[in-house]
Amino acid sequence: MTEVAISTREITYREAVREGLAEAMRADPDVFIMGEDIAEMGGSMGVTQGLLAEFGSERVRNTPISEMAIVGTGVGAAMQGMRPVVEIMYQDFMTLAMEQIVLQAAKHRYMSGGQHSVPLTLRTQGGAGWSPGAQHAEQLEAWVCHVPGLKVVYPATPEDARGLLWSSIYDNNCVIFFEHRNLYPIKAPVAEQLMPIELGRARVHRVGADVTVVATGRLVHAALTVAEQAAGEGVSVEVVDPRTLLPLDEGTILASVMKTNRCVVAHEAVVQMGFGAELAALIQEKAFDYLDAPIERVGSKFAPVPFAPVMEEYVIPHEADVMAAVKRTLARS
């Protein structure tokens, strides 16, 4: 392989999502976006700002507050071969559209014996840490990972957000694309030009030897900070972000754990029945003989997300929780 120098620039996660959308819309007139307040206002998180001006109101569509119809209309347009991208303002409100997601979008191809495809992308965001209260802080990736027919993507960096969004939009299946509210302002270098990232490939963010942390979303950054701290203490932490949760890149994850022999899984969602349960179940099954310690799970404590900042802080996971789990796993011999 010859190395090619790629010129980069710094953009935020928010800008990265926006670029992913804009590039996909420029490339194909069949791509259009729909959602609440995404046009003039540019979305409740400012992600779609400027897109109305560039693409016009036919392709940048404000919708009524009708989550079922937003998703379902996307399903229908996708069945006709378009590539709609719908936005559900907070992933909490996905709970209103689960029927259209699970019983319609995920199953039409299958139930039709392969006649349909549903190239729909559903973007949504969420995450606590800013006192949104219990009805604006859900993390529901575990639910959709239980549904054959869906793909599930959860990027943690600007580069991943941009490249994976492109691939999601051009995937011929329904992709649930999770963004994290608190990652929008983070900045990182991206390649000058959008580079698609294949779905189903994990990213090894940091190579390490002593313990693997498999993290998603906001917790990827927590894991990286912990890895840095741990390095100072002589512990070498490998950080892996699956990025695509379904289909999952088992190979990369298992290879890492087989090397380090210890594993921590971390996400913001509640631990119980969270995505970390699937990771732990899988890893213990396929890397049983390599494990020197139980797989530790990090996630929210078992409560809705409370409003008062002191309580919220207590419920959701932070770097310290990842560090504690890393230490617990290392303490086992």
Partner: protein, 303 residues
């Protein structure tokens, strides 16, 4: 219509004989709605259908062979054996799919119509659904959005007075279902769904309205379910004399027979043709190919 009737009678027979898996809803008594509407559509217009789907599928052009094979769970079935009675697809013929979720197909009709609008195609998308479906949130959101965006959709309500066992007065707060459309400022057309010609004329008008960009239409077809909710339904909830009486007064096929004024011999010839087609479909289905078990893992994803 006669084809649908004889087809469904055969399906009932085969189901009771234990040949067919799953469960079945037949639309005996409602054939005129399926035919009247689908005849008003162009070949590249699309429909979405319901749990009571056989008539819609046949009327939109799925062959009796492909349909029967599906009910037998065969590879030759219109959904390749993946779907079954409540999941009949025939995308080539414009059947987007039957839906076992009440109201579940409505949003995708809006979305299909939106795609036609965005692509400047003069096509129409039609949704079938029952009176019971007008109670569900999906119905509301779909009609509301369709009207807001004036997409070329027709919403065909097959008002048969029951949702499973539940009669209208137990599930609908209004008698005149056309009032549903008022909430969206949507045009509504009401028609006697037992009269296939009237239904066809009404559907033609609704489809024209939609196709010409004047917005969606709520087409309310009043009809009767001359059978149980599902095959085998003992209908304990139904007044004893209701069904026998309706069978006499409200059979759309008898009505058509009268209005066509065909000679007995002509009708019998028709009957014979239809029965032959239906019998042939059973033979076709029985001779069909069973899927391999591991085929079950195909088609979960598109490439």
């Amino acid at each position: 219509m006669l084809l649908i009737r004889r087809f469904e009678e055969k399906v009932e027979e085969r189901f009771r004989a234990g040949d067919l898996a799953g469960f079945l809803h037949v639309a005996i008594g409602q054939e005129a709605v399926a035919v009247g509407v689908c005849q008003a559509l162009e070949p590249d217009d699309v429909i979405a259908s319901t749990h009571r789907a056989h008539g819609h599928a046949l009327a939109k052009g799925t062959t009796p062979n492909a349909l029967m094979a599906e009910l037998y769970g065969k590879v030759e079935g219109c959904s390749g054996g993946y779907g079954g009675s409540m999941h009949l697809y025939d995308v080539e013929k414009g059947n987007l799919g039957a839906n076992a979720v009440v109201g579940g197909g409505l949003p995708s009709v809006v979305g299909s119509a939106l795609a036609f609008q965005l692509r400047r195609q003069p096509r129409v998308a039609a949704a079938f659904f029952g009176d019971g479906a007008t109670n569900i949130g999906t119905f509301h959101e779909s009609l509301n959005l369709a009207q807001l965006w004036r997409v070329p959709a027709v919403f065909v309500c097959e008002n048969n007075g029951y949702a499973e066992s539940t009669p209208s007065h137990q599930q609908l707060p209004i008698k005149d279902l056309a009032k549903r459309a008022v909430a969206y400022g949507m045009r509504s057309i009401v028609v006697d769904g037992q009269d296939v010609e009237a239904t066809h004329r009404a559907a033609l008008e609704a489809v024209r309205h939609a196709r010409e960009g004047q917005g969606p239409v709520f087409l309310l077809a009043n009809t009767y379910r001359l059978t149980g909710h599902y095959v085998g339904d003992p209908q304990v909830y139904r007044p004893k004399d209701e069904l026998p009486q309706l069978r006499v007064t409200e059979d759309p096929i008898e009505k058509l027979k009268v209005s066509l004024g065909l000679a007995n011999s002509e009708w019998q010839a028709l009957e014979a043709k239809v029965v032959q087609a239906v019998d042939a479909s059973v033979e076709f289905a029985e001779a069909g190919t069973d899927p391999r078990p591991e085929d079950a893992l195909k088609h979960v994803y598109a490439d």
